[in-house]
């Protein structure tokens, strides 16, 4: 909770402090537990239901723990027409989980992402903030293999 308080101290006097606070907490802790959100509510004097409402509204905030690595696949129209569905099926197969799920070994959580704005090189996916472009299904197993044995990114790394 010391880290939580440090982050709260950093932002509490700004106008509209809730988003910057949650963003830094997400970066630091990888997910926003009920205890953390309660602390935020107390310190900022915002009702806990509102804090939870905000935390659960945005896709970059996690209100449940996730796998060590977050795999985000873009399936929007520009990536779709360049072959994203086949890439997605291969990710599901190679990771051993369906979209939205976490693998049994806790290595990956598979998610859809909103457009990452790198449509010039679609289809794309992002793992722990690293973006992979011009993807083909054949490239997927090697990329996932590289991450599978790796530890989660250390605290403070956006993902």
């Amino acid at each position: 909770m010391q880290k939580v308080d440090e982050i709260l101290d950093r932002h509490k006097d700004k106008p509209g402090p809730l988003m910057p606070v949650l963003q830094d907490l997400q970066k630091e802790l990888a997910w926003l537990s009920p205890e953390v959100l309660t602390r935020v509510a107390q310190r900022l004097d915002i009702h806990p239901s509102k804090v939870y409402g905000v935390a659960s509204f945005y896709t970059l905030f996690a209100t449940k723990p996730k796998g060590r690595h977050i795999v985000r696949i873009c399936e929007n129209a520009p990536c779709h027409v360049l072959g994203a569905p086949a890439v997605m099926r291969e990710v599901e197969r190679a990771a051993g989980a369906k979209m939205g799920e976490t693998t049994q070994d806790g290595a990956f959580t598979l998610e859809f992402t909103s457009c990452l704005g790198v449509c010039g090189v679609g289809p794309v996916m992002e793992i722990d903030g690293e973006v992979f472009g011009n993807l083909t299904p054949a490239q997927v197993p090697a990329i996932l293999g590289r991450f599978r044995e790796m530890a989660a990114p250390k605290e403070g790394v956006a993902r």
Binding site: G16, F61, G129, A158
Partner: protein, 541 residues
């Protein structure tokens, strides 16, 4: 300041940065040292050059030679041949399918020769992290001119006369918006830069911020002076890490030189800019949802009126402009409204930044005069459709825009003409789709996006987006009926009119466009239970 005989520009835009430009940069530097050329040539990391498909690109000045798909191991050869001996490395030159010989300089390539770069004037040319390079290219001169030689009303008047319209998608006259804010009675007033770019297929704001962050800051400061605002917020998508980093540095550097902060250029005008981040919600690109998010709430749109110029962020008068809009401001103040009106069309003067994506040879970032036709963009600049396929449809303005078929390739692109054609210029995303795709499958991918991004506040959008998706799924599975097509049209009519914000209003447009132009393909799924493109898993196959 040191002078160099040659400059080697290495693109560090996001699209290229996936392909190790840092390693390329390093190899260049090592090679220059090895050949004793480090005082002769300088390596510069720039923002996006635009030709993403051919990336990473390297341009060598003063001649402007364009090298494509450069790998770290190529860097040494470029130094040994081009910089040392003055011999061009032919095998790395840009090759267009339409031209017999590779082109040597970037200005000769059809991709660049048709472009007019106002917003992108510095992108790919300067080091975006260097305020000196921005100033050397005339940067902050417009701010100086506005603060010392013009009254706020004169600044607004110039922008009004230029006919500049909002480049975020809605095309609202910028001068008018500024007038409303200047007249509003509340205090303090705010300038918000909308960099919550989330429209699928759009990556212009990202690349403008990455390539020329000071151009946007200068526009914000001028807007602040014109309207009486002293504080600006740049609301950037949380996913855009490089944009955030470059803008942070730009703000810091501008403050050090007294170009932002208190008493700018000794004129007594104060203007500060702070960055705020989004957290993954497309709807926050809608202005009032963005305010809600910036204030620390769920990004749900407000009911309008009151409009932002009276009741914006923190309930105060606010001008909210898109990144590209703000990047147009300094050139207008510097060169005048009359100059600006020499480009583009009567109703929409100036240029537009488009992002080309999908089934097109040269995907990437371009800037062209308003009024250019889709055919020119796709076939002259974009190089056409790859892999011997044929053009099927283009989606203009992103997923919330609309679709145009083959027969409409020659209409000029500006806000009013595209709107009249049932599509939209929108954010400038151009998604090109070839004839190997099934229209129902494509429409499903549009619909899926809105199901995911609807914020859930109003019923027509929350329920309507799901119903559109269900109907399309039924059709693609071969279980659709003609009644379903009728229902789609009814849904679309209701959704044009009833949702709170443009997200819901635009959600059915592209789907309905595909139904209008490719009805026979829908009917094949329904009547014959076949998918002509063999993409959908329809019954009977």
């Amino acid at each position: 300041m040191k002078f160099y005989r040659s400059h080697i520009l290495v693109c560090h835009g996001t699209n290229c940065s996936m392909k190790s430009p840092a390693a390329i940069l390093k190899t260049f530097e090592t090679a220059l040292k090895d050949f004793g050329l480090e005082d002769e040539a300088k390596v510069v990391q720039t923002g996006c050059f635009g030709l993403c498909e051919q990336g990473p690109t390297v341009v060598v000045f003063p001649d402007g030679t364009l090298y494509c798909r450069v790998k770290p191991e190529d860097a040494r050869e470029i130094v040994a041949e081009h910089i040392l001996k003055g011999r061009v490395v032919e095998r790395l030159l840009y090759k267009a399918e339409t031209q017999p010989r590779p082109v040597q300089t970037y200005v000769e390539s059809p991709y660049f020769s048709r472009q007019v770069r106002v917003v992108l004037r510095n992108c790919g040319v300067i080091d975006p992290d260097s305020i000196d390079e921005y100033i050397a290219r005339g940067g902050y001169r417009a701010l100086g001119k506005a603060l010392t030689a013009m009254k706020p009303a004169e600044v607004i008047d110039e922008v009004k006369k230029s006919g500049l319209r909002g480049r975020g998608g809605a095309g609202f006259p910028v001068g008018l918006k500024w007038t409303f804010a200047a007249r509003a009675s509340g205090s303090p007033k705010y300038i918000v830069c909308n960099a919550d770019e989330g429209e699928p297929g759009t990556f212009k704001d990202r690349l403008i911020l990455e390539g020329d962050p000071h151009g946007v800051l200068e526009g914000m400061a001028i807007a602040g002076y014109a309207t009486g605002a002293t504080m600006g917020y740049a609301y950037i998508r949380g996913e855009y890490e490089l944009s955030i980093k470059r803008l942070e540095k730009a703000i810091c550097d501008a403050k050090k030189l007294g170009l932002l902060g208190k008493d700018i250029l000794g004129t007594g005008f104060d203007f500060d800019v702070e960055i705020r981040l989004g957290a993954g919600a497309y709807v926050c690109g809608e202005e009032t949802a963005l305010f809600e998010s910036l204030e620390g709430g769920r990004g749900e749109p407000r009911i309008k009126p009151p409009y932002p110029t009276d009741f914006g962020v923190f309930g105060k008068p606010t001008v909210i402009n898109n990144v590209e809009t703000l990047a147009n401001v300094a050139p207008i103040i510097e060169s005048g409204a009359e100059w600006f009106r020499t480009m583009g069309t009567k109703g929409t003067p100036g240029t537009k930044v488009f992002t080309l994506c999908g089934n097109i040879i040269n995907s990437g970032l371009i800037e062209v005069p308003m009024g250019i036709t889709l055919r020119e963009v796709i076939f002259d600049i974009g190089g056409g459709i790859p892999n011997g396929k044929r053009f099927k449809l283009a989606q203009t303005g992103g997923t919330s825009g609309g679709c145009l078929p083959d027969g409409m390739l020659d209409i000029p692109m500006d806000y009013d003409t595209l709107a009249a054609a049932g599509s939209a210029l929108g954010s400038g995303a151009l998604l090109i789709i070839d004839d190997s795709h099934c229209i129902v499958d494509v429409a499903k991918s549009f619909a899926k996006f809105f199901v995911h991004e609807s914020c859930g506040k109003c019923v027509p959008c929350r329920e309507g987006t799901v119903q559109i998706m269900r109907i399309l799924e039924k059709i693609s599975e071969g279980k659709g009926t003609h009644k379903d097509l009728e229902n789609l049209e009814v849904l679309a009519r209701v959704m044009y009119k009833t949702p709170l914000c443009p997200l819901g209003q635009t959600a059915p447009i592209s789907v309905i466009n595909t139904l209008k132009y490719f009805k026979s393909e829908y009917e094949a799924h329904i009547n014959k239970k076949i998918c002509p493109a063999a993409v959908c898993a329809v019954a009977g196959e």
